[in-house]
Symmetry: C2
Subunit: 630 residues, 2 copies
């Protein structure tokens, strides 16, 4: 296999000995329209050029110019991790260039790469904050210093760039820095673990790309060093913030800073894919259950607390005060992808889907140039997406995930091909060329047409989302029972012929969902879902006389889905019978003895829109969970 052929997007598990599923060569998947292709187009046409301008405006490029000695007389600007925004943006451009050539993006990236090259110190060190603003702090502050974090993002960008373009400029920079880091840390050298995980998954990927075992060993080392108190207490007074309170193999919960926690679990999953150490996977499984059963917002968002951007206690899931950072949603997607590769189990793809369509996608406005860092499930109004953030971790993180979306559609294994997510696309894997057609997430029909096949029996597995309990499968128009052993996937093994079709029908009736009785903030309330989408009520869609904060939904009457091409770029809206409350009996009171006058109720039709599309029409109120009329 030529290097170009194994170009594999963010993760290349093709040679990972403990991967149940192999990632595909990135160019073997091509989106051909639909929901995600439209978002990719906005990402390419608007977000990536916008990011380039923002990186100039907020000083990121100047920081590198200062480090390179190309300019003088300016101060370093921004956070210690300012370089990482450049690397994430470069990684996003790489994926986009793999999707299709773009001279303008290529030129912007070439300029940025030249700056990165020029900024690197002769010893391989590269971190503009420490080069320009704080030379004496170099490698001193492993807790909050973010040098290994920035290095990790460089490594990921470098691998992506190499895979997308074949150009090794950035990879050479990355390897010089990796060598420098390897000269400092490791067995017999300095014991340390990064305050913000990221370098673990990046080092494993750098190993996968270069086959240099030192990188894998270093990732292993950083994972092993965690949980022994090397980082000390965080600013919030705990070791949990850094996930440094317990050795990685003994962890059973997700705690502390949510992005740190989930970049760590993603890195540990990468390590498992290479080493197969069962204790790692067992810990990840325990942590996954803790997150999914006790600490997850309906949108897939994680991080219940603003303070420390952190996971809360079990069932501490406020709608208004939750953090649900966009980067944490992305981190969850990255982790779940690696769990899926390790196990082949659909529940990980299910959670990816919930997060992709909801808590992740809400992080970017429909226009592609406004972003959310925090993604609450209830807003009383006044929250708008800004163009950029002083701490701008999220926007370029959104860009790299959108640009690499195709990577996550499908995998292969010895038996055949697995389709995990649904979008119009062509997929060329394992001797099969497939065309996927669908109006997902608006309609539940997915049609696969075999365009080329070797004639050998191959197993085609299509994920049946956890939200769907009535999937129907047809091959060449005939209903078939799917292989019952493939839990979560409808699988058919067959000697495929060109022209064969497989249709998966996933009925998308809107549904009401409820939350665990221990969750305070959702008690007595219901949310609307349809297909993979979580819905919300925005003030903008309601009768002007109705305050969206003072409504109830009627759980006994049917929901009505309607395509609204005029709305929010085209969405399936859902109308729900409900009531507007007249709260005059509560005027001037916050508490009262039981038995007071009940609020008046007036029947209304509530209009719900997909959560991802909220806050694109001004800073009105919004809620996902709606009290149920009794």
């Amino acid at each position: 296999m030529s290097p170009q052929e194994r170009a594999a997007g963010p993760v290349d598990s093709t040679r990972s000995p403990h991967a149940r599923l192999r990632t595909l060569a990135y160019r073997s998947v091509s989106l051909s329209g639909g929901f995600w292709a439209a978002r990719q187009a906005t990402n390419r046409q608007v977000s990536l050029p916008h990011g380039y301008r923002m990186l100039e405006e907020w000083g990121n490029f100047d920081n590198l110019r200062l480090a390179a000695g190309l300019i003088q007389g300016k101060q370093f600007r921004g956070y210690v991790f300012q370089d990482s925004d450049v690397y994430k943006w470069l990684e996003a451009v790489a994926y986009e260039l793999a999707n299709r050539p773009d001279a303008e993006l290529q030129a912007m990236a070439d300029e940025a790469i030249a700056l990165v090259e020029a900024a690197q110190a002769p010893d391989g060190n590269l971190d503009s904050h420490y080069q320009v603003a704080e030379p004496s702090g170099r490698w001193v502050h492993l807790d909050y210093g973010h040098e290994l974090y920035c290095a990790g993002h460089l490594f990921q960008a470098a691998v992506a760039w190499r895979r997308a373009t074949g150009d090794t400029r950035l990879l050479r920079v990355a390897e010089r820095l990796a060598g420098h880091i390897d000269s400092l840390f490791g067995p017999g050298k300095r014991a340390a673990t990064p305050g913000h995980p990221e370098v673990e998954m990046a080092l494993v990927e750098l190993y996968r790309e270069t086959l240099e075992p030192r990188y894998l060993a270093l990732a292993h080392f950083f994972v092993d060093q965690r949980g022994h108190g090397l980082l000390g207490k965080s600013r919030y007074g705990s070791l949990e913030y850094f996930q440094d309170h317990v050795p990685v193999r003994q962890a059973s919960t997700v705690v502390g800073h949510a992005v740190r926690q989930l970049y760590l679990t993603a890195g540990v999953a990468d390590l498992y894919l290479e080493t197969g150490e069962e204790a790692l996977l067992a810990a990840l499984e325990r942590q996954w259950h803790d997150m999914v059963e006790r600490k997850l917002a309906l949108t897939g968002g994680v991080g219940a607390r603003h303070e420390g951007e952190a996971f809360g206690e079990p069932y501490e899931l406020p709608n208004d005060a939750c953090y649900c950072e966009t980067c944490a949603a992305i981190a969850s997607i990255l982790w779940n992808w690696r769990m899926l590769l390790a196990t082949g189990q659909a529940r990980f793809a299910d959670l990816m889907e919930r997060t992709l369509y909801n808590g992740f996608l809400s992080g970017v406005g429909l226009d592609g140039r406004h972003f959310y860092y925090v993604n609450p499930l209830l807003s009383r109004g006044g929250i708008e997406r800004p163009e950029w953030y002083a701490c701008a971790c999220c926007p370029p993180n959104v860009m790299r995930l959108l640009a690499s979306f195709g990577h996550y559609l499908a995998t292969s294994d010895a038996s055949g091909v697995q389709l995990h997510h649904y979008a119009p696309a062509t997929i060329d894997a394992d001797g099969l060329a497939l065309r996927m057609e669908t109006e997902y997430p608006w309609q539940g029909l997915v049609r696969i047409t075999v365009e080329r096949a070797t004639g050998a029996p191959r197993r085609l597995a299509l994920r049946v989302p956890g939200w769907c309990d009535q999937a129907a499968l047809r091959v060449n128009g005939q209903a078939v029972a799917a292989d019952p052993t493939a839990a979560g996937y409808a699988a058919i093994e067959r000697a495929w012929q060109p022209g064969d079709t497989v249709e998966l029908e996933l009925p998308m009736a809107p549904r009401l969902v409820e939350a665990h009785p221990r969750v305070d903030a959702t008690r007595g309330s219901l949310a609307i879902e349809r297909g993979p989408l979580v819905y919300c009520l925005e003030q903008a869609d309601q009768d002007p006389a109705v305050d969206v904060m003072d409504v109830e939904i009627d759980p006994t009457r049917p929901l009505d889905a309607r395509w609204r091409g005029d709305l929010l770029g085209g969405v399936m809206a859902i109308e729900a019978p409900g009531y507007a409350l007249d709260l005059r009996p509560w005027q001037g009171r916050l508490y009262r003895p039981l038995g007071g006058a009940e609020p008046g109720r007036r029947a209304v039709r509530l209009v719900a829109v997909p959560y991802y599309a909220w806050a694109n029409r001004g800073p009105g109120a919004m809620r996902v969970w709606v009290p149920a009329a009794r």
Copy 2:
């Protein structure tokens, strides 16, 4: 009037031109037993000596010794506001010495006062952090520097000490520092306002004690300077944190750091009492309604957010993640007392009562040597009161409020005497000597016996708490209708004779209360109250097979109050019919489509205890709000 006769506890409104109510000379009120006297005894016998030891152990006294040059070779320890703990403790000792002489406390305080005197610089400056650790930072950091905050606490301690003992040592120190501050700040001098309000109410009290108009003018100046952005953005990125976003007279909401906000409103109320400026009172009224109708926990606690120790949005009132700092409860009490003095309106005393018996008193363990900084309304377990805090603002704040409790019982005006709170006590005011007998808060009967009277007609007003809608009043055993003009007070005007009795009967049936429909965290839930007490369910009191997190209360069946002398130092416990839930249908799920199997329900008797007494039997789970069975 001799200075000793106007000795007036924390506030002396006797000459405040705009006070509707006059505070009493502190020694004219003497607690003679009951609920609060027992807490005062623990405060005197345990908490104050414990505080003295902690101030030694945590370096507070050493900081002053370093500033005084009495010791060398040590570093300053603790926060920039470390001195304030000493001052609050001294203020508490002062009130306690006014209650009764105590040679041991007197000796401890004398030692501390000598240190304070010795630490003061020749120019009057006094702040051990800036004297010892950061001389170059003196008066530089008005935002987070806390020098005016520390000065304020010194002034309050000095006034209290002078009023309690007649000794002017501390007052001389305070006046030298006040003079120093006055030389720096004011019209034509430096424009500034303190990052943490406190000095405003302290300067007004210093003025009341000394009649030096410069102190009142300086308080006025600091209030006027606020709201013009002098402080800049806080660490949380907002001006609201410091209440510096809007001029004081234009404020309409309570926002930002809760203690800062309420120390400010307390100081503004003090300013109003002296100046009568209606714009100040109007702003305070708006802010009060915002707090009471939208941002108040049932316990009287305030501050919905850990991040920034801050008020949340309207109706953002989580049970688990709320902050409800003990100091914020105290600040609310201090503010409401001043609003009561300004207006004579019972609603302010009502809120004081709610806060005193619940959100304040939970801040100290029954043993008097363990403290809470944060007072949630729901704990899943694992939270215990520590002996002290690195940031120890709350423990000595509790001590000074408990020691001065008698100050808040009664006031007088031209017409007579007002009784605001109920406790066994003797009260000598306005020519009337009264003996109050009651088992409040356990029983609702309050009996006042006139022990001495001048024979002139005087009006005696007894607050009828807002929670009571069936109060009965008897004079010398005969039912009387109370004066209907005195909203919130049952008032009788009469030429009182020794031996006359007034009985106020406040029926104390336990009651269920509900919260405003906009509050997410309490939806579908009820809380138990009886008299002024908010109740909670602690795991320790339930059937061991019942998890207090998985219960419901039956709102259709009566609550049953029972005296339990064996429990928590003697409490009225409340038994409530309810259900224990069997959540097996939710096993492994956090969300599910509506219509799944309902949890099993088993009838149980729930046992509730007063909220103030929680967490005295280990770190078990606790909840105030209990889901209502449907």
